[in-house]
């Protein structure tokens, strides 16, 4: 924590009142300097591009069945092998990326927005606002996650959109709690009181001071949750509530490949690797972002540390 206070970049310090470069460009620049986060970001970008252009990139249709090519190990014709119906696994992994990522982003997006707003209000206003909101969250949290998701899907019917909604609802209390805990600490900070003393409104305090300073744990939680959402989609698909076969999703493929694990490892291995790499990259990028968004770390990094 304690950093040498005056280790600012002395040469060419910007003399204007605004930072010399826009903040987001500075942030991006520092992120690129952090090799782990940069690599993770590039890989994620590649995965997203694959998901966006899935139709064009897939070597063959995901549901093209070739019975004579069943359970072929990886080869030049089928780099990831084929499954028990002779479908090309590479194509299915490529198309599954779109499904898995869409569900993941959507679910975490819902949980992030709803959960952090609830946590922010509960933590900042305290008293009965806190009591009411957090008790509701407790009730939501008390349900086993899968059971709650099943209930949502039972009401709304299966499908990617509803899967995302179900997972999102399950994750709302997690974000609410993480945000609230962080806000409870920040709202007592003197700079919040100082800002109030010059007449700042609650809205301003929340958006300019409390939220930015409470953000780091939320960022980390987001990256972790993206990972878990992809896995949750897999679990729900496995139970037959998420993606419906024959549509491919990584989780569903993993579940289907499980039965062939000692016979044809590639059925489960490649979708599993896709999940693993994606999840890992989300986490690494999240950690990198958290560091880069902290001005104290920022100065250290820009000052040539590491």
């Amino acid at each position: 924590m304690t950093v040498p206070a005056q280790k600012a970049p002395e040469a060419g310090a910007p003399a204007s009142l605004r930072p010399a470069r826009p903040r987001w460009r500075e942030t991006l620049g520092l992120l690129v300097r952090n090799p782990t986060a940069a690599v993770a970001g590039l890989v994620l970008l590649a995965i997203v591009l694959v998901a966006v252009f899935d139709e064009a990139l897939a070597p063959s249709g995901p549901n093209e069945i070739a019975v004579e090519d069943r359970l072929r190990p990886p080869s030049w014709a089928h780099p990831f092998g084929t499954d028990d119906l002779g479908r090309d696994i590479l194509s299915r992994v490529v198309l599954g990326a779109a499904v898995s990522l869409r569900v993941g982003f959507l679910a975490v997006g819902i949980a992030l927005v709803v959960g952090s707003v609830i946590g922010l209000l509960a933590g900042f206003y305290g008293r009965w606002v806190d009591d009411v909101l957090m008790r509701v969250m407790d009730v939501l949290f008390a349900f086993p996650a899968v059971l709650l998701a099943i209930a949502v899907l039972a009401v709304r019917g299966p499908g990617p959109g509803n899967t995302a909604l179900a997972i999102g609802i399950v994750y709302v209390p997690i974000f609410a709690r993480v945000t609230r805990a962080s806000v409870l600490g920040v709202r007592e900070e003197v700079y919040v009181r100082a800002s109030r003393s010059v007449g700042a409104s609650d809205w301003r305090l929340l958006t300019r001071h409390v939220l930015p300073n409470a953000a780091p744990p939320i960022i980390v939680q987001t990256s972790i949750s993206l990972a878990f959402a992809v896995l949750a989609e897999a679990a729900l698909s496995f139970l037959g509530l998420g993606t419906q076969p024959p549509d491919p999703s990584w989780g569903l493929m993993l579940a289907e490949g499980r039965g062939f694990i000692d016979l044809a490892w590639w059925l489960a291995f490649f979708p599993g690797m896709a999940i693993f790499v994606t999840v890992l990259c989300f986490n690494l990028l999240g950690d990198g972002l958290r560091d880069v968004l902290d001005p104290r770390q920022r100065t250290l990094m820009a000052g040539g540390g590491r």
């Binding site: 009142l17 003197v190 100082a194 003393s197 010059v198 300019r208 100065t299």
Partner: protein, 344 residues
């Protein structure tokens, strides 16, 4: 109107003390500020002294309604502050600023110096346009002795003294009439304390500010103040011109307080007579009856437990008042269960 800018009458800030456990029952009342009468004159520097926990900071916060008073009245420039609506309260926040104790905690680490100093301008819509605002921020930084070129930097790149200057610049941005300095120099190095103290004094003269300087540092208070108010256990017990309170304190507590200040002269320091008070400060949750200082007062006599002393003129200097029965028994017997504990 008179030359009184800020005035408190019977001001009370009581905090409920909750017992632990699920029911959160109110177990008692902590009387942080308990019936304070105080006038602050336009353009003066009033020093507010007292030991830790006597309610100095709470009083300062209550005057600006950063802490909600539970009783009594505060008027600012003739208007009652206690019932202000949202808009009027925001206007008060422009006209009355605060400088905080810890300059390491009072600046948002994620905002640049420029953003911090510009916040009051944005909140009150004082300078429209980026450029005017930036110019004003530069002016303010210069005013507090900082290079305007540092505006784009973050607080962690500054020393404590520099940060406190930023805090002062923020407090001055709305061109306030009144500034509360809440232990503003307490967490600075001694050499830096003098700089910031002199800065405050210079600004006070230059801008015609009214200053409430809260501190437990008597030397600093005597250096900067026109008048001094002494607080003990939630009550102002002596007020007077700085020279009079400093030289001829009339209340035994003030005498004890002043006798604890070292004298920067070897011979005088050796002959300095210290009045050492017995015992600890009573808890503000359990205030003694009558005069609240009587449990530690070396001069306590019959009326002290029964009669709550009111402020009365004492000594030779005009405007010097103290709440002490040694100068004549003034005040009323007080039941502290009621809401109003101040005897006028």
């Amino acid at each position: 109107m008179s030359d009184v800018l800020v005035s408190a009458r019977g001001l009370e800030v009581h905090f409920p003390v909750r017992s632990g456990g699920a029911l959160r029952r109110t177990a008692g009342v902590l009387r942080a500020v308990d019936g304070v009468d105080l006038d602050i004159h336009r353009g003066e520097t009033l020093g507010l002294v007292g030991e830790s926990g006597c309610g100095k900071s709470t009083l300062g916060n209550a005057l600006l309604r950063l802490v909600e008073p539970t009783g009594g009245r505060v008027t600012f420039d003739g208007t009652d502050v206690t019932g202000l609506g949202r808009r009027a309260l925001r206007d008060l926040r422009r006209r009355a600023g605060m400088v905080f104790q810890d300059p390491f905690a009072s600046l948002d680490p994620r905002r640049t110096v420029a953003q911090t100093v510009a916040e009051p301008l944005e909140v009150h819509g004082l300078r429209s346009g980026r450029r005017e605002r930036a110019a004003r921020v530069g002016e303010l930084l210069e005013l507090v002795g900082l290079d305007p070129a540092v505006a784009g930097r973050y607080p962690h790149e500054f020393s404590g003294g520099q940060r406190q200057r930023v805090g002062i610049a923020r407090a001055l941005a709305g061109e306030p009439d009144f500034l509360v300095c809440d232990e503003a120099i307490a967490s600075l190095d001694v050499s830096v304390q003098a700089q910031v103290l002199n800065l405050l004094r210079r600004l006070q003269r230059k801008l015609g500010l009214t200053l409430l300087f809260i501190s437990h540092d008597l030397s600093a208070v005597r250096h900067i103040s026109d008048r001094i108010a002494v607080m003990y256990l939630g009550r102002v017990v002596e007020v007077g011109p700085a020279s009079a309170v400093g030289a001829e304190p009339q209340m035994p507590y003030t005498q004890a307080l002043l006798s604890a200040v070292p004298v920067p002269h070897p011979a005088l320091e050796r002959s300095r007579q210290r009045i050492v008070l017995r015992g600890d400060v009573p808890s503000p949750a359990d205030v003694p009856s009558g005069c609240r200082f009587r449990t530690r007062c070396p001069h306590a006599f019959e009326p002290c437990p029964g009669v709550d002393p009111a402020l009365q003129p004492v000594g030779a200097a005009p405007g010097h008042v103290a709440a002490c029965h040694l100068h004549g028994v003034v005040g009323g017997p007080v039941e502290r269960e009621g809401t109003v504990a101040s005897a006028r």
